[in-house]
Symmetry: C5
Subunit: 323 residues, 5 copies
């Protein structure tokens, strides 16, 4: 389905839901900026787009096949941008990455996606509000769109960060062995998030340092801002990864410590029991001449000596902190 | 064996199976592009090629000796390219890397390989289909060939990725100790795949940034596309490596956890048994005066106290989760 | 609250607490440098600033939202700088990072912060003392301010370093298992400190290598000095991180060694006890014909043999250093 | 000892064993290329060389002191090159690195070494064979020499690779604890090999990218070839290092697994023995009223119950795979 | 204390111990090179230097405060260099790093240090010997000074390397648990050495690649030489670090192996003892009808069966290498 909006940056007139057939005409009007949003694109849609805007067949190909890496490619007359909107969904907080393809030209923007993208509504709304800056053309919509997507990573990372604080509390406080599985689930999420952000950051870095033939100078500061947010997101992901690996180390050493403590304790108890049992064994021997056996309170003495050995050993092991 | 195809980019006339002897003549015709595919090359083939196309003896030397690293070298009049087609083969999914040497000139392409390369058929087929873009010369065949090889890495990596998901399930779910050997087998595969892709990516990166004397400008976007796929493959390999090392860590810590649990349990059971045995030991002592021994239900009481101690300890150890 | 100071770099006249309303006039006087310090800024303050100095709405936006990453951004007519003052606070030496936003123009400096910044007082004091260098304008105040903040990291890092020496002593000397928790607390502090310094260092590196349109050449050497201090702080943090990970390794291996020693000892003791118990067990057998049982000193001999076996084993295990 | 060979690249006349005294004269003849090979150099040799060819005293100094790092330095009129020939020697396959110093000028090559270098003979032989390319001067001999040395690393690395396959088989197959010592011996070898190759690769990288005042353009492709081999050797070393660290990890986890299995088994057996012993202990008690003791087949029943408990526990532990 | 030496590079006349007051005059004479060595500088010394040579107050400030990072800074008219002389001192081979500040101008060199620097004497001696190259001015003394300091790192690193060989022998040969503490002590030393060399290497790298306004071209080759030595020292440190971490890994795995072996042995011995004890326990039961008890050689048979079980188990455990 193609939804088209046309804005004349001179007269500030906004035409909603233009007909696809009129796009060619609208593009000829000076100052007109056209945004075509294609959701669930059909083969026919792709052909129409390619013909109307003259897109290179390689970029159309990339658009067709899913799971592209995030990237910005320069073609004659337009940029082709792939990026991912991230969302935690479902009861298990599964990470969902939704692909958005953007064709960005001087006075047009085409967005293609097969799943709903929240940022498109946000960008559309802001475009209306920022009408006074609308003379900056298609680049401004692109900025609003990319910025909305990039900014949406931050609350998601805050959630991950909170989860990690819980994990850490669980490690140093009330112990749960299952923490390990959760640590790996967070680790994987961060790996995917990182993969959908860092390539974009690297490309922005290159784009912002070279000549910008398509955009006016004024829009450059906006893309600098998006780049700044991208770095912030990427830095936060890296910091979270560092902290997670540190949490993992903490888990392993605390887990090792706990295990050591338990084994020391159990083995110490075994040693005490064996010592006491030895006494019982000695007086279980069948020698004919064992004076203690005949003694009136021999049994009591034996029990007392067992208690004495047991308590003595316990006290000693307590002192050296093995129990 | 040398198979030669000649295409006139002006008249779009395709001549299959040209004679090797005619190559010199064909090359003189304007617009002719020649693709000579040499499989299982003999010493004679090499000499013929070197003479006909004027290849430098160093590149011929590289072509002769196998196990070159993937590379692109610039010689006067042509590029010399080495790359590897990857395939999982045999019952044990052994990784097979097949070397392909490409000599790429303005209007000729020579491919040399000692084992069958699937991508050659794919490229030949697509060349016919893309006849309308054929005026872009030998660069286009090179693109189709390299792209076919690079794209073939992706389904292979998907297989590896699926295998890794199985491994992970096996770690957190039904436990198998042999997982470790499979993890190392996957690790080695990724190491080899990485080694056959990353050098290529690095060389493409350099080539695409500098002047391109051999190719027309229009072909440049195609090589940009190959480069993009190379990055995607390399990125996927790196992500899989990251995930594998994470799986490895998970294996180690879960394995450690399981072992700790078992040792704790066994040692706890030993402690219980020793405590109970101690009671038996006490009443096995041979003191003359042991009132309990004479008691009517002494034996029953002893047994009951053993059960009591055993159950009590079990309950306690259960509570502190040592058993 | 806005506090404004104005210095005429020609007449060296300093006007404290100017009225906000006069700023526009003061800026017109040649040689006047204005420093406006805004603490706990209100929405109204932001609007006033944006209007008076012509700040871009994106930089105002960054100023409003907290937790920006440290950065230096170039806007037309001014630099926008974000950095963090670090302080250990509270009974638990919690690390506190306080954000400071700086707008630095040719002849004005605007500082915005919501929590008190010590460096502002230091910079104000030094500005008075360095009156003879005051002709270097707003850049000099910026230098004094940034330098005061960066230099404040060093005593803080010295504290961390001392804490780490204590931890190390505790590992190789009097052992405490809780060291692990402290190591992770220091690790986290270093992670946050690093995060608030390294982005700044990287940006300074770029700024110092390119053309400087705003500052006179003479101020350049001052920013080179700040950069040098930034590198020093960042290097110190990296060294401390290296040493911490080394301390962590030391903890783990010493902890493992201690545990091993204890387990060896306990198991050795168990072996001795079992050997001695075996002798008792043998003479506890009920065979009718056991000559030793009838011997006059059989019991004494048995006890002696127990001692002999116990001492012998102890001596042997001591020799092989298992006990 | 100085051995000198002179080749006239125009007349292709080769003069073996020239007198040291004649070198000055020979150098004046147009087209003459002189190769002086100095083995076991004396102080006098160094002075002679310095005077004859005008070598800078710093490069002579580097030549005198051994254990320089591999490098290429540019002096006025010549390059000074240090590299190492690698060889496995002795019964224990000790790695031997032999230093070779090369002074490479427009029409002369001086090689200095204190131990025999195999590559010198190889290069001398090839120089004779490649007489038709001899007009490329001293650069060609340098190429032949360096290429011979670099190529000699590959069979050596193949040996290391085979050794590593053996180690891996030993880890997953028939277990030997001594593997660990061999792994470290290989690791050290790779560290030294890497150290003697990577600096050279880095310098070649720089040299090949800049202007080449000494060599003619045609020799450039030869040095490109050496560079390619250097990368290949360095890449192979890095891959081997990666695989070795992976082998090391495999060793540690398999070793841990084996140990865990053994401890589980031993502790399980101990548990079984203790359970059975408990039964014996119970019937070893001396209570007056123990009906079982009087039973006709009490003893047999007791033995049977011991067997039952033993077999039952064994069966259970087998089922949970602890034994 | 300020010691001043003046050398006229034209007349080769050397004036020792010039008066501080004469420096201004001496600097005016053409060809004069002045070296002022300031040890234990007072505030007055700093003021005098700043005034006489026109040093920037920031470099004087750096000179005053100790613990600067090694660096080279360019000021108008001179370079300001900070570097560290390393020495092992005291009975425990404590690493001592002594700071040296150098102001290097066209025709003057000022060295400032608060602790004695050996390299100053070396450089002074060599300056006299190298009188024939003295026309290369202050740069030559700087070279001699820096080179002497950098070269002094190498014997120190040889010592560290020898210590590491001892540690390794101790790990694979006669075992000492204290090795771990020594490994960490060496690790720390290497960390400090690295920190005092690598920043210098990086700065030299930048300086040598750009235009050199202060030094004549001939001195450039000397600084290239210092850079080469710096790389060599830094490379050696990195190699030692790699080898140390490898030694550390060896320690951990060998230590783990030894522990495993001991535990296996002790647990195996325990199993044997328990089996034998079980036999004693069986014949300690009090059943009325136990035919063996009445047998003439029952006791001997029992003892023999104990020995048989013990030897049998020992033989079995020896075979599976658990003992």
């Amino acid at each position: 389905m193609i939804r088209t909006v046309c804005l004349n940056t001179i007269s500030k007139a906004l035409t909603q839901d233009c007909l696809a057939a009129d796009i060619s005409e609208l593009r000829l009007v000076e100052g007109n900026v056209i945004w075509a949003d294609v959701s669930d694109p059909t083969s026919h849609d792709f052909e129409e787009l390619a013909e109307e805007f003259g897109f290179h067949h390689l970029s159309i190909e990339d658009c067709r096949t899913e799971h592209q890496r995030p990237k910005i490619e320069e073609y004659t007359g337009y940029y082709f941008i792939v990026l991912y909107e991230a969302q935690l969904a479902g009861p298990e907080d599964r990470l969902e990455l939704r692909e958005l393809n953007i064709f960005l030209g001087k006075n047009f923007l085409v967005t293609v996606h097969s799943r709903p993208i929240r940022a498109i509504d946000t960008a559309a709304r802001l475009w209306n509000e920022w009408m006074d800056r609308a003379d900056q053309g298609a680049g401004l919509i692109a900025y609003l769109l990319i910025d909305a997507i990039v900014d949406d990573y931050l609350p998601l990372l805050d959630l991950v960060s909170e989860r990690m604080d819980d994990l850490e509390d669980s490690i140093f406080g009330e112990w749960r062995a299952e923490v390990i599985e959760e640590i790996f689930s967070v680790k994987k999420k961060l790996l995917y998030l990182r993969r959908s952000i860092t390539p974009l950051r690297d490309v922005f870095n290159i784009i912002l340092r070279r000549e910008q033939p398509i955009f006016p100078r004024e829009i450059h500061v906006y893309f600098q801002d998006v780049f700044d947010h991208l770095i912030r997101v990427a830095d936060t992901i890296d910091t979270l990864r560092d902290m997670l690996s540190s949490t993992m180390d903490a888990y392993l050493s605390v887990s090792g410590n706990r295990m050591n403590k338990i084994m020391k304790r159990l083995t110490s108890v075994a040693t005490i029991l064996m010592s006491v049992t030895l006494i019982a064994g000695i007086y279980g021997m069948n020698f004919t001449f064992m004076p203690e056996l005949r003694m009136r309170y021999g049994y009591v003495y034996a029990l007392l000596s067992m208690v004495a050995v047991g308590v003595g050993l316990y006290w000693y092991l307590k002192k050296v902190e093995w129990i």
